[in-house]
Amino acid sequence: MKNLTFYSCLFLSLLIANPVQAEAASEIRIGSKKFTESVILSEVITQHLQNNHISATHKDQLGGTRLLWKALVQGELDIYPDYTGTIIYEILQGEEISSDADIKAALARHGVSITAPLGFNNTYALGVTPSTARKYSLEKISDLRQYPELRFGFTNEFMDREDGWPSLRNHYQLPQTAVRGLDHDLAYKGLEAGSIDLIDLYSTDAEIAYYQLSILEDDESYFPDYRAVILYRTELIDHVPEIQAYLTQFGSIISETEMIKMNSDVKLEGRSEAEVAQSFLNIKFNTLSKIEVATRLDRLIATTSEHLFLVCLSLGAAILVAIPLGIWGSRNSALGQVILSIVGIIQTIPSLALLVFMIPLLGIGGPPALVALFLYSLLPIVRNTLSGLTGLSIDVQESARALGLPASARLRLIELPLAARSILAGIKTSAVINVGTATLGALIGAGGYGQPILTGIRLDDTGLILEGAIPAAVLALLVQWSFDFAERTFLSPGLQMKQESTS
């Protein structure tokens, strides 16, 4: 048993020391935000660089402006597309900006350069259905003042942004109070269903045409310009001088109609961003990009392998540590109490607190997630081992001693095999809980099914939630079944005898 403990400690320390993720650093990393247009633009940039034999990779759907900006400034991304309005009102918030030159200068202080606008302007706009427009004869935003009963449904982002609803209301002195925060896609549905009357939208949204929406004129010119531009780290030019030329090629290349078409191809026609970017570049530059189709399946494979890594290692380590702990605790009831108490206390540490606590020790990524999962997997196994061993009948224990078997051999040959059913039940419980808990890996950069789930929850995207939740459930079942199989194999048939009579 000492040996067992030793090996499991060894295993555990290997596990902690094991580097989980290694980055290929020489590639140019292009980021995109979590909405279709941004993904398309970044895909266009990435493919264009690749077509020109520059190694580039697209880190897609990375959360919001602040995250991308921070990543760019800290050098974790090299390039990403954004909009002038966003740069002024979000990134450079609080600085005096009155011209494009001001923007350039302000960005330069952060080591960031900006390209000329790409052509289209994707500003916010307010849209209503044609019938609403007719009914209230709405043409301009200021027309809204007379109809306080109108129900607005805005994206959560628009509700919160500095240039969003609160200041739009102030600007136009709008009286409406029935204003709800909604998912963008749901907003279109709500509008169609008639449960809201007006929504915010981006002027390049594909759905405008699809739903034949009327856009209200911004007659007091509240909405600023949102011209698309590309931001990149200035120092990039030192390393890859030709890149500036390639980025410059995008100047005024995408018209509003083209952008709407591309959005529509992705969102309404169901084509992938990569394909759409490919045909765009084919038309403009006469190149044909090779595209790796990173489908849902690819993502599934990636999250599955991350999740499996977390589960297998942490569960394996937990089994190796928990069974000896349970055995040890079964030898002496006071010691057993102490062990169970400690393991129980560990179990009550909230996962976020545990992860926060481990960051200074283990950084982020796999190691802290593995340690947390390992710790959370101990209790069911320790307790069931202990309870299985203490519950053995006195007769067999006496019989084992009468033979002259020393304690270690009794444990190995008699006690553990007889307690196996209880121990395996603990392991199965622990395994299922582990698969569920491993979704916390996404909180700390260890990936896994938590990734789509967390994103899905944040974006209220049931599809994405299910993309993580369903494989997690399937994995839990598979893990459980494999232990059931192990039980049938390892548990002595002498302990699996069934009675014949059913009454």
Binding site: V396, S399, R401, G404, S492, P493, L495
Partner: protein, 250 residues
């Protein structure tokens, strides 16, 4: 070979063995008899350290029994518990081989020994592949006896080893065991409720009552010089039903 000096043992403050001393000479077969609950099984458990006395001490092979040497000593004795004590998760043959394999004896010799014992107990080899719950009462008892004999130990403690066996098997085993014990000079302590078995196997008989040793002698001495009327009563108890049998079969 086996020495007990002034042994007392209680359960929950209830003394069940009272200041008992006993000396079992090497190579002899001693039979423990006495009424149910008089302490026979307890005494056997004490002799191999499955229980520890409050008073007195016990020695086996001239060594005082202590927690330090008990495991080593146990490996040199064979023990049949009253209920057999087979491990439910092992087949009969796994139960038998357990110690031999643990002590890394030559597997071929072990196989031979198993075959030999099967002959002795009239157990067929394919029965041995079954788990204890698939065996009849008498089969379980024979497997337990085989397990105890497996390593050919010098001392044997047998707690009603043939109690669940039919007359035919029982008598033939008694005779075989008698031969083995005397030929190989085994020291045997055996508990039985069958006076015929006692008569055929015992060199010496211990008769116990309520935790006291009443008399320790040969059967004929017990009969001719009983220390207590109880001794005579006990020895003669079974003669009446036997007589009935003799009467009925003429």
């Amino acid at each position: 070979m086996i020495h007990l000096k002034g042994i007392s043992k209680s359960f929950n403050g209830n003394e069940v063995i009272h200041d008992l001393s006993l000396e079992i000479p090497q190579g002899k077969t001693v039979v423990l008899i006495g009424p149910s609950g008089c302490g026979k099984s307890t005494l056997l458990r004490l002799m191999v350290g499955l229980l520890w006395p409050e008073k007195g001490n016990i020695s086996l092979f001239q060594e005082d029994l202590s927690k330090a040497n008990v495991e080593k000593l146990r490996q040199q004795v064979g023990f049949v518990l009253q209920d057999g004590g087979l491990f439910p998760h092992m087949t009969a043959v796994q139960n038998m081989r357990l110690m031999a394999d643990y002590l890394q004896h030559d597997p071929i010799k072990t196989e031979h020994r198993i075959a030999e014992l099967c002959d002795l107990t009239h157990i067929s080899a394919d029965l041995l592949k079954r788990y204890p719950s698939e065996l009849s009462g008498g089969q379980v008892q024979r497997v337990a006896l085989m397990r105890a004999l497996m390593l050919d130990p010098q001392i044997l403690f047998l707690d009603e080893p043939l109690g669940a066996l039919d007359p035919l098997n029982r008598v033939s085993l008694q005779e075989e065991m008698k031969t083995i014990f005397s030929q190989l000079g085994k020291t045997v302590v055996l508990v039985t409720h069958d006076m015929g078995e006692a008569a055929s196997l015992a060199d010496l008989i211990v008769i116990m009552q309520d935790g006291y040793l009443l008399q320790y002698d040969t059967l004929s001495k017990l009969s001719s010089h009983p220390a207590d009327p109880f001794v005579t009563e006990f020895i003669n108890a079974q003669r009446k039903p036997w007589q009935q049998l003799e009467d009925q079969i003429k």
